[in-house]
Symmetry: C2
């Protein structure tokens, strides 16, 4: 039994940052088609102007704007038709005073012209002459070269998680591959004599490995890679062997199970047996999730999560995901749904408290219904659509209060 | 030029539902490890009780509760130690009046016992006797068989999109594979004489294919499959050939480009040339995105999106994604971030108006800054983190108003 100090989530994350300040996430190159959800490892700087040429934003005639000045319905300006620009082709020739060249939407503005008058304001008198019924100003209906994006401009910042719109931006710039951070590698170990895998027969006294599968999905969803997953009995040598495998193949090893004090010591002993830093976080003031430990073994991060599935999910979201985010430097907007609580919920004094909620709609409002149940209960996971977080300095949330609901 | 009626988004979706009422999304079986993000095609019914046996929720002694009645610090109850239950093993023997059996957290409650008294309230007198210092009530510290989930209970509903917590629930139930809907197959065609692909050399007058890449990422993100992607010049026969390929390999064909009236007619002609229903939506009252067409060709859905990247993303979110959702029957909680607008934005009367915004933080509040720019502008996509939707019956959003920001 240990008597180490329980630290806050923020303290734990700071200690992790410090202990793993030498941990570097390498980068690799990938095609933009494969980049969805990946994190940029460097700024994207435009090598091209977009558009690459002055282009018309309407169907109309490219002219010199001064030729239209004073034009009206009653006194039009008459201009000479000098051909047309085809889509996707360079405009040849030059527009001189008194000339007009037809340009389709997106077409290139010919040399000499400084605006495009929309076809709606033009009357075609014959094959060679048009009448312009309205004045047009300098640069009207023109998107100039580089108006959208200028060459050498930083377009996407390092740390951006690639979304569909970003991929569109890269395509526009002619960028086909980007440098992204390698996916963080994880190794998952579920411990406990009672834990059996899906393909094993159920016997009295046994329970299925829930955390292994839930953690694997959480890791995939956050963009990590699972290098291995195993179930180990409560045996020092067997557990040490599995942790060794994890150290060899992954950056972060997650061990779950053993929520009792004795079992926690056991996990600590294994982490400490690798030499070096060993366990440096011996409990976190989070509810549920207190019996969480964090250590460094052979340079790798080893995190001991609680055995209860609900607790282990909360610790994953608050510690593992957040640690990964700091490692990768991901630029991130917190995503949540705002909802009104439909019942009072008490928090635990001095602890950051997590509460599962179900999101519902009531009279046009989004509401959050707290879902109660022992932290070992699985059905909580199927009922709840998200969770709320209560700070250690608050006493809870009252019915009617607006809360932020985070998705699992 | 066509003079067909422009319909509302809701009307367009209703028409699509009706025209494609014969479209069925098939289901397939997948392992729960591969099920993240997939949509359940049938209810999941528990075949097991969870837990599968009465279990202790604490480290303590299984006893008959009446043996502890009246027990106190000064007058304890004395009970006979009758061994212990090992984790993961069935409890043998029966607890009779006057007996106590040690049970660890999660261990199986032995026959005859109806509660567990925590070790904190027990004193071990010798190897054979314990003193109980507190009364314990019936079922205290016990989770009964099926307390969490009962056999034959519906645990996850058809239409659920699988999240990590759901995968944990299935593992708990011993379910290793599930029936999910097949991914919807898409085929993407970008049209236009000016459009070139990433590996082509840039020339004056050309533009990169942006929509092809952005749409591919949007489809992947929503859980669809892209069967093919191509760029086609404005040529009836070439376009018809590509649409044929799309019809052969996909459920939904997306054509983008040709935002001008003439080009739209051209796309319509190709869709109509396959016989059958042809084009039945000839424009949607959405801004930007009006020149959207929808048709049915050889039983498949063909959707003509605007060429401007920003418009085409909005039409994808409002029409394509929503159509897919209705086809699959996905149970969904709308996800958005609530923010305060930091500027006035006007909507277009009679149209559902979409406005790109940037999400920021100001004095502890989440704010939405509208991002303006011609709809053809790419930089909008890199600046904006999401968008707001203004209903056709509103005049816009005022500064300070709370809005829902959706992610692209």
């Amino acid at each position: 039994m240990d008597f180490f100090k329980v630290v806050s989530i923020e303290e734990a994350l700071c200690m992790m940052n410090e202990k793993f300040s030498d941990m570097r996430v390498e980068s690799e190159t990938c095609h933009i088609r494969e980049s969805l959800g990946r994190i940029l490892s460097q700024d994207i700087v435009s090598a091209e102007d977009v558009p690459g040429f002055d282009r018309s934003t309407v169907d109309g005639y490219a002219i010199k704007s001064e030729d239209s000045h004073g034009a009206s319905e009653s006194i039009p300006s008459f201009l000479d038709m000098k051909g047309s620009v085809n889509m996707g082709e360079a405009a040849d020739g030059e527009v001189k005073s008194g000339d007009a060249v037809y340009v389709p939407t997106g077409g290139m503005l010919p040399q000499g012209a400084d605006c495009v008058i929309m076809i709606e304001y033009v009357e075609k008198l014959d094959e060679k002459t048009i009448a312009v019924h309205r004045p047009t100003s300098h640069l009207e209906n023109v998107m100039r070269r580089g108006d959208d994006i200028k060459s050498a401009e930083v377009i996407l910042k390092k740390g951006t998680r690639m979304e569909p719109a970003h991929i569109g931006v890269l395509a526009a710039l002619g960028v086909s591959s980007v440098n992204v951070l390698k996916k963080l590698d994880f190794y998952i170990i579920s411990t406990g004599d009672e834990v059996i895998d899906l393909d094993e027969d159920m016997e009295y006294g046994k329970v299925r490995d829930i955390n292994g599968y839930a953690l694997e999905a959480l890791i995939k969803k956050m963009g990590g890679e699972v290098r291995g997953r195993s179930i180990v009995k409560d045996d020092f040598e067997l557990l040490k062997e599995e942790v060794s495998k994890g150290i060899d193949s992954a950056d972060i090893i997650l061990m779950s199970g053993g929520s009792s004090v004795g079992s926690r010591d056991f996990t600590s002993d294994v982490i400490n047996s690798f030499g070096g830093e060993g366990v440096f976080v011996h409990g976190i003031s989070i509810k549920p999730g207190k019996p969480t430990i964090v250590g460094k073994a052979s340079g790798k991060a080893v995190i001991g999560l609680p055995g209860h599935p609900v607790s282990s999910i909360f610790v994953f979201k608050s510690i593992v995901e957040e640690f990964a985010r700091r490692l990768t430097g991901e630029i991130r907007n917190e995503e949540f749904v705002q909802a009104k609580m439909d019942a009072n919920v008490h928090s635990s004094p001095g602890k950051r408290t997590y509460q599962m909620v179900k999101i519902g709609q009531y009279e046009g409002r989004t509401i959050a219904e707290p879902q109660f149940g022992k932290s070992g209960m699985i059905s909580l996971l199927s009922r709840a659509g998200g969770y709320i977080v209560m700070d250690k300095n608050t006493e809870g949330v009252e019915k009617g209060e607006t809360v932020r609901v985070y998705r699992i």
